[in-house]
Symmetry: C2
Subunit: 252 residues, 2 copies
């Protein structure tokens, strides 16, 4: 892992751009932390880090206030990374299927999500190796964010992740739906009740399928991008409960 | 309204038992408040105030920490109040229907819930008149707690209630389900995912029916009485957002 830029943001947050092999990313740490801190991996949809930056940095700020480092990496085929022809093709097929208005076939969902999730999970795990080798980052580790299939597969594959905040989606391959039963870490699942891109019933069934003993569904009004600000407060409370050392009762 | 007992609880809370006509109740206020405070009406299932006291006083404590008064009254036919023969009969019919394992008929639900909700709403409104006449209580007013049909009808009837935290139930008369569409105040709805006494799908449909632009469903694992402690934290955050004067950022 190499650091390529470094700057201090308002609110005592150190922002460093990183590269891990070919994969660019960003690491945010509480600038004044005196001991290794827990880490939240910030997932996001495949729209490119530049487009996602405003939302990611807001979450990174909140994490730093709570005493956590946070980090994100670019997804394969997104942003400044090389195009991935098969992924572009699968995306085009998905868009056509959605525009046609009918149900989207399982083979279209599988072709888009499975290769993306496989590669993203490998890259997230490599990033986690590198991040945890930094002296300023300890643990435990949480994962928070979009592409629910990536979150599910990462939670199943990666024992270092102890809690996950997921964004409910319905374009979930059958194989991932089945893997959801193997997820046992505490989960905090956001659902947008009128999400134009997701089927509510399918999202509720996925929530039901998770094997976790502690799982909470927070459903809010509005469309895909209309998550209300207070939903972030509740998610922050979830990570504070699961990542903070016992006895640390700072502001939440 | 008469005060019948008064004692100071740990944590700077003044607890006073009250009677409003024939109706007993309890009022909790932050003992050291120097200005009139908002009020949360604490609803509860018809099991009697004595049985509900431990849960109610915990919620009252949290309300006081957040700078709110809270109050509850005994439901008609419950606790130390005179038996209500028609209600006892309706309860026995409901218990028989549930024990029989089949779907519970609408007439059984209506017979149990509608008279109870009518009378309870009248009594809650009278209590609200009396409570708001106290110099130590200002507003705004929230309602939080069980018997969702009472919460719905109170929210429709009582313009002084500006936010409500409800406990999702499925034994909801059709007429109350229709009235839910008239509820427009912000709502925070708790659902126990494996509630043995409630049908999950019916509870989700009721949540969908509410007319409120801001409504949030928090679904947690476990049965009817298994609401996790962190659900109370999130509910407290909801009331802090809606009842606190702007600029008041104390601990949440």
């Amino acid at each position: 892992m190499r650091f390529t830029t470094e700057r201090r943001l308002d609110g005592d947050v150190l922002e460093r751009e990183i590269t891990l092999g070919e994969v660019p990313g960003v690491l945010w740490t509480p600038a004044s932390a005196s001991a290794p801190v827990p880490l939240i991996l910030l997932g996001h949809p495949p729209l490119g880090l530049r487009a996602m930056y405003p939302r990611l940095v807001a979450r990174a700020h909140r994490a730093a206030v709570d005493g956590f480092a946070s980090a994100t990496i670019e997804l394969p085929g997104s942003g400044d990374r090389p195009r991935w022809a098969a992924l572009d093709q699968a995306r085009a097929d998905m868009r056509r299927a959605v525009a046609a208005g009918g149900p989207v076939g399982a083979e279209i969902v599988d072709a888009l999500i499975l290769p993306l999730a496989d590669r993203a999970v490998r890259e997230w795990r490599a990033a986690l190796d590198a991040l945890l080798s930094l002296p300023e980052i300890g643990g435990p580790v949480g994962y928070a964010g979009g592409v629910i299939s990536i979150g599910v597969r990462l939670a199943v594959a990666e024992p270092r992740i102890v809690a996950a905040g997921l964004f409910a989606g319905s374009f979930v391959p059958r194989v991932v739906f089945e893997e959801a039963r193997q997820v046992t870490i505490p989960l905090h699942v956001l659902l947008q009740w009128d999400d134009e891109g997701n089927d509510r019933q399918a999202a509720l069934e996925l929530f039901d399928a998770f094997g976790s003993r502690e799982k909470t569904l927070h459903a809010n009004m509005g469309g895909h991008t209309g998550v209300p600000p207070f939903a972030g407060e509740d998610a922050a409370g979830f990570f504070a409960r699961h990542l903070r050392p016992p006895g640390d009762d700072r502001h939440r």
